[in-house]
Point group: C2
Chain length 468, copies 2
């Protein structure tokens, strides 16, 4: 007889930690560092704070367990209110980033899966110290996760008066790992973070006591991303039902104007005439059939103002070119930031850079640097939609049409920013094949490749001239 039962979210990720990127002790070190660093960056640059982040990995922290490391990450961010700390670190699917705003975090899982992995491999709780900007106290918690119930177990809680103006968060947890194999990935991650967030200062001390100071190269920070309303294009039936449930508007006309970006008085009237519903109807009185018709109409109508991108935080062509130049010392760089596009109600901006020649080594394939919401993506390159586009053999881009012959000295940087990045997995390593995004990435890389082609042709002409 089949035994049916349900799992909590904590049990699900406990049983299937590979799904969250914790597939082996090498990856576990990398994943723990990147989840904590991404939280630290979200707590700083999304709030206009110049990030100062300290990362420490120590070995030999538990007798007779040489494979266990203590990982600590500290930031000068906005901190976490004490009432939210237990759930933030010990209840899966709990987050402050479930809004329509461009943040690195989006799942409400990262910190918790690291804590869970630490707990199941070492039995140790996580320690969190935090203080918000206006708070007069600093709070310290030691927490573990009640896996069956998916709720926090507060093992220790204390607080002390804040003497200084410190604000921020420090997270310390023990995990079983393999530092020697993880080392190159962790260093690569921090280096690429420095490229994409040149205003961040990161201090890293590794288990051999090496200290590396990734010092900020600018104090210029991009404007922080803003929270926005959904764009009506591609809004589905379910989210429309949820918006109807949550709205405080009292008429369908106001509902359309207030709950969406890009719908003004006249567009609202146009849509209402298309669905033939009274504009004064209380949105909560709409039947399921009416909501389905409204979803279908919003999806098919193509008269909306295009999605805005001013709530998104992108790099811009100058920063991309400067970053590629300083790191790669190429002969040529080009960059392109596309206008905003939209998929499923979420605006997104694709930007790309190409760097060619100079100190870049020859290779049979382009070197691809992928970023999403300013997160470096290092694993799963070949399942990423971007690789599908740029890879030389069967990719959508035929490189010889751009005068690139393999082996070639070519680096391609691609950055996608959006209020929702469609990652393939919870471990945030590759981007899914979403048609609108695939099209934009291809067009963006082609834009930059066209400049490269012009340069290669010009160079070749110069060489031919010189030979005459």
């Amino acid at each position: 007889n089949e035994k049916f039962r349900s799992l909590s979210a904590a049990e699900f990720f406990y049983r299937n930690k590979e799904i969250a990127g914790f597939s082996n002790p090498v990856r576990a070190v990398y994943q723990t560092v990147r989840e904590l660093v991404e939280n630290a960056l979200d707590a700083t640059d999304s709030h206009g704070i110049l990030p100062v982040i300290k990362v420490v990995i120590e070995s030999d922290v538990i007798p007779e367990r040489p494979d266990v490391y203590l990982i600590s990450v500290e930031d000068n961010g906005i901190g976490i209110p004490p009432d939210n700390i237990p759930q933030a670190f010990a209840q899966l699917l709990y987050s402050s980033k479930y809004t329509i705003r461009q943040t690195r975090g989006m799942f409400g899982l990262g910190a918790k899966v690291a804590v869970l992995y630490g707990q199941l491999t070492t039995g140790k709780p996580v320690e969190v110290v935090s203080s918000t900007i206006n708070s007069s106290r600093i709070y310290l918690f030691r927490l573990s996760i009640d896996v069956k119930e998916n709720k926090p177990v507060v093992l220790h809680r204390t607080s002390f008066k804040k003497e200084s103006g410190w604000h921020g968060t420090m997270v310390k947890l023990f995990i079983e790992g393999d530092w020697n194999r993880a080392k190159p990935k962790v260093y690569e991650y921090l280096k690429r973070t420095a490229i994409i967030a040149p205003y961040a200062s990161i201090i890293f001390k590794d288990p051999s006591n090496n200290v590396v100071y990734f010092e900020r190269s600018t104090t210029l920070m991009p404007r922080p991303p803003r929270e926005v309303k959904p764009h009506p294009q591609g809004v589905d039936i379910e989210s429309l039902k949820m918006l109807v449930q949550l709205t405080s508007t009292k008429s369908l006309k106001d509902f359309l104007i207030e709950e969406f970006q890009g719908i003004g008085e006249s567009t609202s009237t146009t849509i209402i005439n298309m669905v033939k519903i009274d504009s004064n109807r209380d949105p909560k009185s709409l039947s399921n059939e009416e909501i389905e018709l409204l979803a279908k109409t919003l999806k098919e109508y193509n008269g909306f103002k295009p999605p805005r991108g001013d709530h998104l935080s992108y790099l811009g062509e100058e920063i991309i070119k400067a970053g590629l130049k300083s790191v790669l010392k190429p002969e040529f760089v080009a960059a392109k930031t596309r206008r905003p596009s939209v998929y499923e109600g979420h605006s997104f901006i694709v930007e790309a850079g190409v760097a060619y020649g100079g100190a870049i080594p020859l290779s049979e394939e382009p070197i691809l640097l992928r970023f999403a919401n300013k997160i470096p993506l290092l694993y799963d390159e070949s399942s990423d939609v971007t690789w599908k586009i740029v890879e030389p053999k069967s990719g959508s881009i035929k490189w010889d049409a751009y005068e690139v012959k393999w082996p070639a000295p070519l680096v391609i940087l691609v950055h996608i920013c959006s209020t929702k990045v469609p990652y393939k997995g919870v471990g945030k390593e590759s981007i899914a094949d979403v048609p609108e995004i695939e099209k934009e990435i291809e067009n963006c890389v082609r834009d930059a490749a066209r400049e490269l082609k012009a340069y290669i042709i010009k160079k070749r002409k110069e060489v031919e001239e010189a030979e005459k």
Copy 2:
């Protein structure tokens, strides 16, 4: 001010359907078919029933919505009791497969994510008809998912007296999809299912009204997989705590013998002496430190009986060779089924086949056919740990050492069966880099490759002889 909140599992997968394989309308058709077919196969062959599965995809089922299809899958399996049907199809993380037994399903998500995707793209409920083997009634439900609460909404329930001996399940749901692009993948999936489950009969009718009958080629079924206890090797602290909570044994000695496979009286005594805990201690009286010590000791002890594989359902070398021969018409086939190994308390068996020459076309890379628990894996090949091993340029296997020169006519089949397949993602398309599994796959492919090498050398000698 940051707004913290929690999500239900349904909300999480609603917001992040790419994580479950529903990244675009092409993939959605494929994913819906495969999730339902895998449920049908689990309900039949895991219970000794020769599977008869009918799959129908119809178009033009909703006026003015040419992109919506009605997908129906019917099986002659064990059926679902009426009390479990609502949660089985409309509550995420609900399953009868959360046991230690080799099944295709493992997450408690597949059917629900398909229902959720159908609901958000078409607004339509799922219809389920089912009757268990001994039941005198057939039950019909129409269900939708309350996304916010992750619980079923029963829109309609009825039942009728069963006149015949019918037992099984039929699932019907509407989804937005792209049949034309999904078609080759769906057909490939059904073909490969026929290779790996030659005892199953599958009838498929597609939107053009083509009917394809994948008739069973044998009535010989492998022995159904059995549920087993965990193997003590690699048991972690958290699962040890859970076993302690659930056990009805009253002494540590009995706990070790009863709750694990591979531990008898003498091994139990040995372990108890290593941890220096009284063998009569009630397991529920163990402190956290004692459980951690026990977990560490179980992990490091290497005197356990090796994991059994007789609860696993593998193909065997004859079936693999027969399958490759009949489908590919090669010049040469070899196959190897490895002995059982274990990772994190789960036994697993790797089997591989190579087919060479004959009707196989030349290619710069091997054609890789991947299977896990008798599920064909079609997507994300390049992020699968198996591809990392066999790919010609930088894979772990240097093919020229086996006399294979590219381009070559080579097909490699790899099948992993386990009580837990470590998929990289909820969409079950590629296998994660688990060190124990990676090692076994490499050794298994090498075993088969060695036979290929001997064949190629022998053929070359015959040719050289003939030329003299």
